[in-house]
């Protein structure tokens, strides 16, 4: 005679502690992340469409979007271009101070953004160590759009390098040898065989660098000059609206911002998966 197992037995898990850890995880997640984040949606829902639109699409806001998006884009592209070179050199070559440089790549991760901000501003100011040369050439860096790009490049530097490095390390030497034995010269081998393999990682690094740059605040506000319509980034605009107690306006812009960032990351995830196939 067979007996049906009671539901209690069916749900039994072999290792203990699931309910405790899962419960704590969900509680903590809700308290710290989900509930606070939901405030954005809550607040935005108190706005009428007209109010929402005027906050989100005001000339000042639009200018800040252009700036944030544009500067992050350029910074991310710089990092892809040079970061891949750096990653290649760090993995494939030996040179003096290599280990020091390798460790230093993570500096933007570890350094507080305010410190980066004041350091960069001082360096690129008209009388700064680096800024003076640019100034002499008639290209001001600090307090301009260019300064923002410089800082965002710094911020996003490790994302590309650290994402691409392991891929270069795992490259199969046999594939390169095959290409070479089939008559490809070094440049062709790199372009046709290696680069396609690095593409997913480069894309991921680009997206991470871009996303990080979009939301960056602390390092940018020192070098930017922060003039509305000219050098005001979106996070600063949000901050200013908060200080003016325009919570609704701040939230509306924040919502748009979040949607764009999440959309970006999602898109990259999808692209990655497709490329991996």
């Amino acid at each position: 005679m067979t007996r049906s197992i009671s539901p209690a037995l069916k749900a039994q898990r072999v290792l203990p502690g699931f309910r405790l850890t899962m419960g704590f995880t969900l509680l903590y997640l809700s308290l710290i992340v989900l509930i606070p984040l939901s405030m954005i949606v809550l607040k935005t829902s108190t706005l009428s469409w007209a109010q929402f639109w005027s906050a989100v699409a005001s000339p000042r806001a639009m200018a800040s979007y252009r700036l944030s998006l544009g500067a992050s884009l350029v910074g991310a592209m710089m990092n892809v271009l040079f970061g891949s070179v750096v990653a290649w050199a760090l993995v494939r070559y030996d040179f003096p101070a290599k280990r020091f440089m390798d460790g230093l790549v993570d500096l933007p991760f570890a350094l507080p953004t305010a410190v980066a901000g004041i350091a960069m501003t001082t360096l690129y100011a008209p009388n700064g160590w680096v800024g003076r040369y640019f100034h002499a050439l008639g290209i001001p860096v600090a307090y301009t759009w260019l300064g923002i790009v410089v800082v965002l490049t710094f911020i996003g530097l490790p994302f590309v390098v650290r994402t691409v490095e392991p891929v270069i390390q795992d490259l199969d030497a046999a594939v390169e040898e095959a290409a070479s034995s089939l008559g490809a010269n070094r440049w062709q081998a790199i372009r046709r065989v290696i680069l396609p393999e690095l593409l997913p990682a480069l894309l991921t690094g680009f997206a991470l660098s871009f996303a990080r740059g979009l939301g960056e605040y602390g390092s940018v506000i020192f070098i930017a000059g922060n003039m509305p319509m000219r050098t005001e980034i979106t996070p600063l605009l949000i901050m200013i609206k908060l200080e003016q107690f325009d919570y609704a306006g701040a939230t509306a812009i924040a919502l748009v911002f979040l949607v764009v960032s999440f959309g970006l990351l999602l898109g990259v995830n999808v692209l990655q998966r497709r490329l991996r196939k």
């Binding site: 007996r3 197992i5 039994q12 072999v14």
Partner: protein, 360 residues
């Protein structure tokens, strides 16, 4: 302690790993769960241990219901396929683990624990390596530590999941015999899972042959080898020669010759399949009047205690025969020599739907 599994059914998603499986393991016996991968044997072992829960059915230890007991309550010793040694602990600490996590009332003082551990390590011949870590041990050594660790808590049942699967042939042979001796010494009820039929036949008291989540046959090694209950068991254990034929009355017509049906053969279709082990084929140089078929010697492998002769029949099927060395010398067989073959004993089954291989 005896184990009884009643009507165990286990389903993973939409895959049924075990269909209504019932097995009894008497106290003190060493039982092998033998079958190809996917047969459900490891799942069944894990159900005994409490590492999986069945959808239906019961597990009883010594006649008492144990299906609801957790793995840590069941006091079974489990030896994992890849040993699962605690990688950050020394051999000594690994074996002592079970003794150290006992509740305070049951726990022995450290010196007593140390004595037990040393005793066990001596038993598995790993005493000198007690300070080593698992990464510093060979596969066979890790296996012995895993065994000592499982035995340390004095389990009533010992379960081993493909214990020798990851080792090379020589080590496998030695450890196989060593396990049998150990079992004889300790006398603990043991169940081990294997896909290696030599292992099961050599070591176990009883063999449970499994296939696709069902039990094909349970018996002693001789029983399952000499008297297989189903075609699958026949195929899985040892070499086999296949004969296709039709049932005619009390005989089976295999083309060139007919054989008396063995008594008790239950056949409900006219198409039949005959199975004969290589050592049951007898080779003659001349017809003897007994039911025989003609064949030509294709290949001879005379190395080893028995001589393996490969034969090709008139219809092109290949048969394998095993004869004694003296008989081989008597017949003076050579490649290409025509011979007459009779079958001493044949097991006849219904022809299954998908038959491969040849026959007469």
């Amino acid at each position: 302690m005896s184990i009884e599994l009643r009507a165990i059914t286990k389903i993973f998603g939409d895959f049924t790993a075990l269909h209504d499986v019932s097995v009894t393991v008497p106290t003190g016996e060493l039982v092998a769960l033998l079958g190809p991968s996917g047969s459900g044997k490891t799942t069944l072992l894990r159900i005994i241990a409490g590492l999986e829960t069945p959808e239906r059915g019961e597990v009883l230890f010594d006649g008492k219901e144990a299906t609801h007991r957790t793995a840590s309550d069941r006091r079974v010793g489990f030896v994992f396929q890849h040993y699962a040694l605690f990688r950050h602990m020394s051999v000594f600490d690994n074996v002592a683990f079970g003794l150290r996590v006992k509740p305070r009332r049951e726990r022995l003082p450290e010196p007593a624990i140390a004595d037990k551990v040393h005793e066990l390590l001596r038993l598995v011949q790993m005493e000198r390596l007690s300070a080593r870590y698992s990464s510093q041990l060979s596969g066979g050594q890790r296996q012995r530590v895993a065994l000592a660790r499982a035995l340390a808590v004095q389990p009533k049942i010992l379960l081993l999941d493909e214990p020798f699967g990851a080792l090379d042939a020589q080590v496998r042979q030695e450890l196989r015999r060593w396990l049998r001796r150990l079992h004889d010494e300790i006398g603990i009820t043991s169940v081990f899972v294997t896909h290696d039929q030599d292992e099961a036949l050599e070591v176990a008291d009883q063999v449970v042959v499994m296939h696709e989540g069902r039990v094909e046959q349970i018996g002693t090694p001789e029983e399952v080898y000499e008297h297989p209950a189903t075609p699958f068991v026949y195929h899985f254990l040892g070499n086999v020669n296949l004969f296709h034929g039709r049932v005619e009355g009390d005989k089976v017509n295999l083309g060139e010759f007919s054989m008396q049906l063995p008594t008790g053969a239950a056949l409900d279709t006219p198409q039949a399949v005959g199975y004969a082990r290589p050592h049951l084929l007898e080779i003659e140089l001349q017809p003897t009047g007994a039911p025989q078929f003609k064949a030509t010697v294709r290949h001879i492998n005379a190395a080893g205690p028995m001589v393996k002769v490969e034969l090709v029949t008139g219809s092109g099927s290949v048969m394998h025969a095993e004869i004694a060395q003296e008989r081989y010398r008597q017949l003076q067989l050579r490649k290409g020599v025509p011979v007459f073959v009779s079958v001493k004993e044949m097991k006849v089954f219904n022809a299954p739907q998908n038959m491969l291989g040849g026959g007469i």
